[in-house]
Symmetry: D2
Subunit: 341 residues, 4 copies
């Protein structure tokens, strides 16, 4: 932590800052410049709060030097983490593709989708049983019945199951059925849910909130890691900006940026990220080219009849096209395309 | 709902859209323009999903005509709603000011703050017992012990209590202590929490998420109203933008905009909205001038020692100054200043 | 400037940074922490470029300490600047209100508007002769004929003239007619235009670009000040965000934030800032309450027939109402309301 | 254009809207729904202004149906435009890569960069002679001397020249030297510059402003096209959002979105788009994978000594690596990699 004093600061002001730093159990190092005096804090700055120094007289600015996360950082672990989800490796050389309907609607809808995505090479089946909807009048998911259908689809196809859990009270129930527990974008900072998930023996797919910084995403991962769950997969799914031609702005820059700071694998959701069927395939190619470890894609046998998210769901035929294009990009990068090993 | 066909649309394409509309139980009204054919949907468009029409061949755009919320709208209720919180009216002629520490830290801290804000004219006491923090290593609140201290402060000062509830499982416990249940910005779309709160006999303070549109805020209010809880107070607390000089961008435009669309009262949180002590007073004046029904402000006896949010907390003396300036603005508007009636 | 070395930095890496700093004519001050070494630069950091240090091996971050502007800063000039525009003081105790049509359309339109805004108490007349329009097919302004009409209106009403200048080649012509030269939001970083305006003996109204930081706004002011023109008035006119209920998001936080950093006066444009007739009056009240030194407002005798910006223009009657409300807020703040002294 | 009447609208209100539409030379088509009456405008809606209808009594909303641009649209021209720049085709099967220093600094710097980028396969040389800088104290470019050095580099290497022109008065001079005239992001809506460029016999590279919508970008292209210059290349270079890990947010979604609406070629600038050396290569791969027709990249023989933009410039060696990776992605897509034909 570095404290910048303002132009008016006297020696007494500087001393009162250094005294406060020492009171807090750390050491201070003063550097007098021509226009400003700066004070470096020697010791673990994470032990103190900004405000303990920023509100002292004549302090102009307090600048943290260390990242606030530890376990999620590359400094803590240099190599790339690979997360095993029901035998599928996420974060290794092979691209992982999770696909399926936004909502589980019926046995027939789920089974036909599961078979189609498996045939195209998807390695995990996604499907929502609990749905956080903007409108109270919209379909809110089948609940546990949806989870049971997902388990049936796993039996039938061998695909591991990815599904969302919405609050801490439901974690155990959902974990009984799912292979990968999804934290939705709206819940990225639901700290009670994160705490509970940190104690569960299942991997977690942590979706970035649509207005979260990378720092905040990694701090939410830190909740999971620091509670004991090391199997965390990050997911970019679009941020909110001024742009009008996509529902969200899929931010691929975060993929290489996260890889520089963290060892955790990261996948991309081009369905929510763009909100438009006709942008999903080009942005899936771009995501893999940017370095993503996989994709999570919405597929529905008949998008215009979907209970939710039809506008951003691919037909099985379009998904098959996506998989072929993604394999081609993966191979250009020297990675293995999606599919069973 | 209006369907715009693209330039290539044939008569057969138009007929397939009108047929689909009729299949969905509504009527279609076709209007052929020079460059485009548009089709109006006659009936309650809320019964159908955009995707049921947008994905049909040659459909260029589907434009909703009705707002998705009903009970929160001015059309449903023309007059302004006034919400009673422990005898304090929010939404009437008198400005309501809720003040207190970000976190409840100790009996002494809470009592001294409660007495100070009451003396300055605050009408409700705010204080957090459950805290959603970005970092897992930060103070997470005193929990039920905090609630007990808040109840003690109410006994001592007569001020009603505003406190946050973080998940549905905690609603009953928090409702036992609080007079106004706060939904934090991160939970604005926690639909399980909203559902539970819609069934509780306590008013709710619904904070706007920092990237929520007004539509989304009113849809979250609709969850509460449609579940049976009519006592909803909206709160603006800053949005996330590119600007660098405030932690968030307090968006006062939403105040008159919400008043045009909804009958619900709206207050403003200048502490979170700006994140800077030195902007709180001018932005509080501006909030009242823009038409807000009240404020919620963080006050701490010693901000530099606060367990959380010190940078955006006022000292009791500064809060007293704020109250004097707010009274002056209220009076210029012909409203009553904050204080006991 | 502070250089933060990363965890891997060796003593040799630190030495290569300090050597580079000395080569650049400044001095280095090394402070070894537990996890990081930081190096303070002693001397005027504005003389070096970030990249000269940031790209050296094992440098993690380079943090500037000084603001990049000098003449625009409060440190350079402690008191508030007051800019005289044709006898009207902007930045003093009295609120200044500039009003008039978006575009000058005809003599009749301009004269009737000028008389109406003068009667309501406006102190300067605004009107566009050169219009930067999004569409090449839209009305682009009357050009010099518009300037002549503005001059006529000045003669008839005594109101000083505010009008936009769009490029450096037009500065002299426009300066022959106008009392205050407006730099539009899209031209805030047109450095050729700023350079030219810095050498003209007329005050400048510098509008903030809709995605400019405060730093960038003050740097554009610095172009004017450093070239020799000290008469600069800042203007907030809305930023671009995700919100959907206003054309732009009028950002009033920038008003008190700019006042803390700079001595320059600042006014607010609620017409462009909101883009909605029905938000202009409440946001004008809020702007003055936040500390703005004045307003610039679009007024048209018949907004639905305006050649441009009708949706955000007030009728003369509505403008009269605005002036009464603004006077009331000004008086609550202890400032003088708009009007001739 | 569709006019939505509000709930209170009477038959007389509807008639006054239809009368106004007919007065404006168009026809009206009324459709009475259950909750709203909507009125379709038959005829070319581009001939009227929104405000002529939006401000009539009881009008709730006016929704345009047609895009405001014509010549830039796919409807006007179905096939992809290919722009020839000094013999290099931009928009065809072959990827075009423009590379060179941010600023032209000296003959030696320019020549060595030109040779290096040519050797790596770049097909055009970029370099700034006129620089729009945020700070008045920063290097503003060599001006015409810079243009002369660019011409020399063209002679020496055969590479066509891309350089920025900052205002209309400079267009002729710059056009004498350059093969492709660049409109910088800050000038995307400098309509005087666009008008002048529309009459010049040189192609134009139009960079998207960092807060421009796609609509606005295409309207700026329409200025060029409607004035007679058909050789327009669009360029994405990052938008301004809340994210903190890149200087701008490179928005690749705009690439496939623009391709759906317009026939114009589009390239991507990963240097300005990210502002970080270490993100340029992955985001270049992603840009090509998303469907971009080329790249414009900053390269400097010694980035830490660059007069401008060193933080986002590649060394020649890194640029060579970029070209190899881009070729591999291009080939995976069935396109030809950059390089001389």
């Amino acid at each position: 932590m570095i404290i910048v004093m303002n132009l008016q600061a006297t020696d007494a002001d500087v001393r009162s800052v250094t005294a406060r730093i020492e009171e807090l159990g750390l050491r201070a190092h003063v550097s007098k410049g021509v226009e400003r005096t700066i004070i470096g804090v020697i010791g673990d700055e994470r032990l103190i709060k900004r405000e303990q120094l920023s509100l002292l007289p004549q302090v102009e600015n307090v600048i943290p030097v260390l990242k606030p996360y530890k376990l999620a950082s590359r400094e803590f672990k240099g190599g790339d983490s690979v997360v095993d989800v029901a035998g599928v490796k996420v974060g290794g050389a092979r691209i992982a593709v999770m696909a399926g309907p936004c909502s589980v609607e019926s046995e027939e809808q789920l089974m036909s989708t599961a078979r189609a995505v498996r045939a195209a090479g998807a390695t995990l089946l996604r499907g929502g049983a609990y749905k956080p909807r903007t409108s109270p009048y919209a379909f809110q998911g089948l609940g546990e019945d949806g989870l049971k259908l997902l388990a049936k689809a796993r039996e039938a196809t061998g695909l591991g199951i990815v599904t969302e859990v919405m609050e801490s009270a439901e974690v155990e129930l959902v974990a009984d059925y799912a292979d990968l527990l999804q934290v939705g974008a709206r819940n990225m900072q639901n700290t009670k849910l994160l705490r509970k998930l940190s104690q569960v023996n299942k991997p977690v797919l942590l979706k970035r909130n649509f207005s979260a910084t990378l720092n905040e995403l990694l701090m939410s991962a830190e909740y999971l890691l620091s509670g004991g769950n090391e199997r965390v997969i990050l997911c970019e799914r679009g941020i909110r900006t001024f742009v009008e031609y996509s529902r969200n702005t899929l931010d691929l820059n975060v993929v290489p940026a996260a890889k520089l700071l963290s060892h955790l694998p990261m996948i991309v959701d081009p369905s929510h990220g763009t909100g438009r069927q006709d942008l999903i395939i080009p942005m899936s190619r771009a995501a893999i080219a940017a370095g993503a470890d996989g994709l999570i894609v919405e597929v529905h046998p008949n998008p215009s009849e979907a209970f939710s998210d039809g506008d951003q769901s691919l037909t099985p035929a379009a998904f098959d096209q996506l998989m072929r294009e993604v394999r081609s990009i993966a191979s250009a990068l020297g990675r293995e395309g999606p599919g069973t090993p």
